[in-house]
Symmetry: C2
Subunit: 728 residues, 2 copies
């Protein structure tokens, strides 16, 4: 006899773990359903150890008492009859039954009531169900994100949080550490720890539930959404009152992936080539094939550069080959500057020639709706193992090679910053900003349509490239979110990765079959997953550019204690505001250190933090207090607020600050030092002087230096360099 | 016989409005209490028409039935006995009683139960209480803010919102319009309109309740806090389940206020003086009294400047007077550059001379703990009606008068921007930024300790000053929040006011006697009240400076329809993100306009909004689409995204854009146009060219131009220039 809702067993509970979820899913599919029934949902939940209320069907008072005993807590009894849809009206429900006697009486009563209410009704028995304990309502779910695949969601349940969208996500399957971090990640995290003297929920049980849901979703591609809403979280444990599972088509086909060694091998030849061919090279100024060749030749690249043009002849003083097949020896990179329709055939020749990298400048592919043409390129490339950069890009710069494979203006300031952009316009802003700030660059790469090479390839290369010390990427989408996260995690251990994800607010409405689905707006998932990957998300283009150039200037902090030293009390207040905004911890200054600062500052100045040395102080006061901050090992980073005065002019301040920082660096003591300079225009020169000497300094802003330090800290925490850190 | 909890009447309700709140408050004070009892709270509530559950005391079943009839809805009965603290345990509570028969039976039952439970108990009767209807829990309260005095608070009740701090404030008393705007001001505003098909609350009743609470708080200085938590808000009305009132010491003494005419009269003489005296003028370079006199003389001020120095003689070529008393004729301004301890006596002389304005550069007053010395200054000033600027300031600039009454470097670029700073350091940043950007300035004023003249005086003056078209103020506190709000409201009708309020995050914990008090962190109140006053709050120093210089460049928008026209699709996405961030409404482009745009752009470009003209387009495409946006009266503002290409170089774009905007301006069509330029460094020159011609343009950033436009819109809404606007 089968008394169990769902069909296998008498009592839902541990025993149900024997149910075969795959069989349940197959059956639902076979029945043409895209949503599991509640009993099916409970079966899957049970199979994954996701606690739902225990329940069973009793056909006698004795059985009811036995079931209640097995459940072992207060139970509810509900009449089960296909002819009594409204059980309560029929007097067919009794709740809060604890003792055997209560259960026995209630059984008799609901059966009698039902008989009185509907004498003809077929009664199948009485459902004995565990009472849901009082607890905080939370939501645990999983969805299939178009970029990242299965992600698990957690938030507080209830209408308010649905509106306030206080929910967080992690890639599924999630680890216990991931799940525990989710509990701290929501804005209302405090509620879980108990408020107004209330009890805290069982965090371990809740995190365990999240892990189980993430595994269920990850194990079955055909599960599109899982929605446990509400889950009751109490000090004694957690219980999912409702399990909703939506089926889907499974994941979209995955892009071809290359092994790390393959990526590094082709990228090395792309970024440090010995020879290039320019297909579509031209003598005609104004043509892209002319600009690219000229930039390559003028830029000072010392490898071989071969023009290719069906007309042959001489182009910019070099012999042009009629076909890439005619080029002597091989080449590392083929740069294409020919119309889109001619590209597949030319790419075929490049493939046959064994050139490993194709840089596809032309537009006229997916971005203009020509998806088929782009797919043809990809097919040719895959046939020959040729990697494609683009199409629809400005090209790329590799300044250490003096390589400007672009139609834009050359750039030759070498340094540690690697920059990529999906959009050509943003690429031009990157170039202009780099030139305006003389940012030393290891690469600027256009990614465009990302038919093949994308951010994860570049992250893998830049992560391994010893000349790159910070990476900044503008992106509008990720073609393979999982590959990006993997590459980012590995790279972030060594160097900061800044991401400007465009399209934050344009997500728009998404059709979704569950609450979790509705909460998973594109950006909410991006935001959580990018943080999980340890990248620094820049709020805008300007910040991306400033973080990229400033982060490698600063040494990594060794602890969380930040001190502000300021000549202007007004700057001190604004710097404190900014420190809180950017997640920095202003050190509570120990008494001895406080006393040490006080020895250098006027009696009406204020120690504590900010240390306000007051405006009229001479260079010696700045120097003494900065030295103190550098010396004390309990201090991990300095934020300086300079005030332009007659007594301490800007360049005097800049010189002493740079000198002190350099002196400590020479002695092996490195701490990040950032400066806000308030003053007349001489502070611009002073800022530049400091920046060039390893002190990140900006005029007329109290926010930007602190934002940069905040970004450095975010990276240091993600890279595991700080106690209590970890990817958040 | 007196059956009413609270003491006056039988049934709390309309009749209770006769209660005298002042008498209740006096009685509580006389009893030495700082918190009203619940019945006292209900009395005050009733007197102000704040609905609380109706209730009364019945001594017989008949009386209970009568009371229940008067209450007219479901009621609860509760035994009233000083000897039965736990009513429920005694079976002394019955709820949900609707009919007379139920009430009668319940009365008998609770009395019998009580007698059985505690035979010796003195029973005073049975409380008959209106059942609180189901409804959304909200919080309505009032607190006494140190800056703004009485403010009324509104938020959603419950533990989540207490943690998420989703609460808003308005000055008390609040108007019905204020109160209605509060309902939309919280993040969870949607909940009040009904969610998941649930009903909306009675917004009029809720707003009315807020108004009544605000009046109660405003009417009685001795009420420190009012806390109605929870208020149940339902479709049928609202009911305050609990009323908590905390008494305090009344408001702090108010600063002396001057009438608008008095302010304008003295400020006019400060900002446009005919003659100044410099007290403490010196021949010694490095002394402040030297620098001030030199700046006045070198700056080109064409009024009289008289040095005063007890040694007399000749200073910088001018005859120095030994005392201000010796100066022939009068003067409009006395600038002080003497040590703090000498200041009161010198100020006395200035007062006797009838000089209306004293500019107090020296420090060494309240900011160093010398409060008494500062109070002496104020006392002298009030005796003579002398207005004080400072102390502890760098002085002030009035460029239209070529007046540099400061010890800093002169500044002579005249224009429409008035800037003030509380801090000297920030003042120096203001000066440097202005010089670096060649911002045309009408005034730069240091406010320092604000012993007398403060932001409201300057707002009043700048509001009336025809040369000032935008005002930006850095402030750390307000000495008279109400006066500021009054002056700001009046000024904002005519010109934008930007405020950088420092100390946002430093509020720290505040002792509070109620939930409302705990929610009213300094910044939460500042933020809400500043918005209510219609000022634009800048998130940081950099934004304050940019808004100040850019806002007067743009004409006011005449509607909310913003269109983005971009050459770079990538910029379009980032500009859209920024538009949403800054509260702009991207126009849904009508079909005919969409078709008109499409005629100018390539087939693979995209109309809609952003209008993506694509990267390779010539100047004519930019020009045609910008003209279209300027021409169509349904479009109210343009955001342009320029992409540096060979086909349309930066200066070509800048020239055509400036020309088109000027042409329309000449024809009487003015719309704000802002531009983000992505490109190589030539875009810097192009941005400057545009800025000088009335088009706000920035290189390398997609955020700043949109942030400026957003600020302009915030002002236009606050100034009532846009339909559906108003101070928010």
């Amino acid at each position: 006899m089968d008394r169990l809702t769902g069909g296998q067993e008498r009592l839902v509970g541990d025993r149900l773990r024997h149910a075969d979820p795959a069989a349940v899913l197959r059956a639902a599919r076979a029945a043409g359903r895209t949503t599991l029934t509640a009993p099916e949902g409970r079966l899957l939940a049970a199979a994954y150890g996701i606690p739902t209320p225990a329940e069973g069907l009793a056909e006698s008072a004795d059985e009811a008492v036995e079931l209640a005993g097995q459940i072992g807590g207060p139970v509810a009894l509900k009449i089960v009859s296909p002819d009594i849809p409204h059980k309560t009206d029929a007097g067919g429900v009794r709740v809060g039954l604890s003792s055997a006697a209560e259960v026995r009486d209630a059984y008799t009563e609901v059966v009698r009531n039902a008989a009185a209410y509907a004498p003809e009704a077929r009664v199948e028995g009485v459902q004995v169900q565990q009472m849901v304990p009082e607890g905080l309502e939370v939501l645990v779910g999983a969805v299939t994100d178009p970029t990242f695949g299965k992600v698990v969601a957690f938030g507080l349940g209830g209408v308010l949080v649905e509106i306030l969208k206080d929910v967080t996500f992690r890639l599924a399957p999630a680890s216990m550490t991931d799940a525990e971090s989710m509990l701290d990640d929501i804005r209302a995290a405090e509620v879980l720890r108990g408020v107004r003297g209330g009890p805290a929920v069982d965090r371990t049980a809740l995190a365990d539930l999240i892990v189980r849901v993430s595994r269920l979703a990850a194990d079955f591609p055909e599960i599109a959404e899982v929605d446990l809403n509400p889950v009751f979280a109490a000090p004694e444990g957690v219980l999912a009152a409702d399990v909703r599972i939506v089926l889907g088509d499974g994941p979209p086909p995955r892009r071809r992936r290359y092994a790390k060694e393959e990526i590094l091998a082709s990228m090395e030849r792309l970024m440090r080539p010995c020879s290039l061919v320019v297909i579509g090279a031209s003598n005609e100024p104004g043509k892209i094939g002319h600009a690219v060749l000229r930039n390559l030749l003028d830029g000072g690249f010392d490898g071989a550069v071969h023009p290719v043009n069906p007309k042959g002849g001489d182009i910019l003083g070099r012999t042009a080959y009629r076909s890439v097949a005619d080029v002597p020896d091989g080449a590392d990179v083929a740069v294409f500057a020919i119309p889109a329709p001619l590209l597949p055939a030319a790419l075929e020749e490049v493939g046959r020639k064994g050139i490993p990298n194709a840089v596809l400048i032309p537009s006229g592919f997916a971005e203009t709706g020509e998806h088929a043409l782009q797919e043809r390129l990809v097919a040719v490339a895959e046939k020959y193992g040729t990697r494609l950069l683009g199409p629809n890009i400005y090209g790329y710069y590799s300044p250490w090679q003096r390589l400007c494979a672009t139609f834009c203006t050359p750039y030759d300031v070498t340094g540690p910053v690697a920059l990529t952009s999906q959009s050509g316009g943003i690429g031009m802003a990157v170039l202009g900003f780099a030139r305006a700030t003389r940012t030393g660059v290891s690469a600027i790469v256009g990614l465009g349509n990302k038919a093949d090479v994308d951010e994860d390839d570049l992250l893998t290369y830049f992560g391994a490239d010893p000349r790159t010390r910070s990476i900044a990427m503008h992106l509008e989408d990720l073609k393979d979110g999982r590959a990006f996260v993997e590459a980012a995690r590995e790279t972030v251990r060594e160097k900061p990765v800044v991401v400007l994800k465009a399209g934050r607010t344009g997500a728009g409405a998404k059709a979704a079959g569950s609450h979790t689905g509705a909460l998973a707006g594109d950006d909410a998932v991006y935001d959580a997953v990018l943080r999980q990957a340890g990248v620094i998300r820049a709020p805008g283009l300007h910040e991306m550019l400033e973080y990229a150039r400033a982060l490698p200037v600063l040494p990594a902090p060794k602890g969380e204690n930040v001190i502000i030293i300021t000549g202007a009390g007004g700057s001190g207040v604004l710097l404190s505001d900014a420190a809180v905004d950017h997640g920095l911890r202003l050190m509570t200054v120990p008494d001895d250190l406080d006393a040490a600062f006080r020895r250098f500052i006027p009696p009406f100045g204020s120690a504590g933090n900010p240390v306000d040395i007051t405006g009229g102080e001479p260079p010696a006061t700045y120097e003494a207090t900065i030295r103190l901050g550098m010396t004390d090992p309990r201090v991990h980073a300095l934020v300086l607020g300079y005030w332009h005065t007659l007594v301490t002019p800007p360049m005097v301040f800049a010189e002493l600050t740079a000198r002190v920082v350099a002196e400590f660096r020479a002695a092996g003591i490195e701490k990040p030092v950032v400066v806000s300079l308030a003053g007349d225009t001489e502070v611009e020169e002073a800022s530049a002087y400091l920046f060039e000497r390893g002190v990140v300094a900006y005029p007329y802003t109290t926010e930007l230096p602190v934002a940069v330090l905040g970004a450095k800290y975010r990276w240091a925490r993600a890279a595991g360099l700080l106690p209590g850190g970890g990817a958040r």
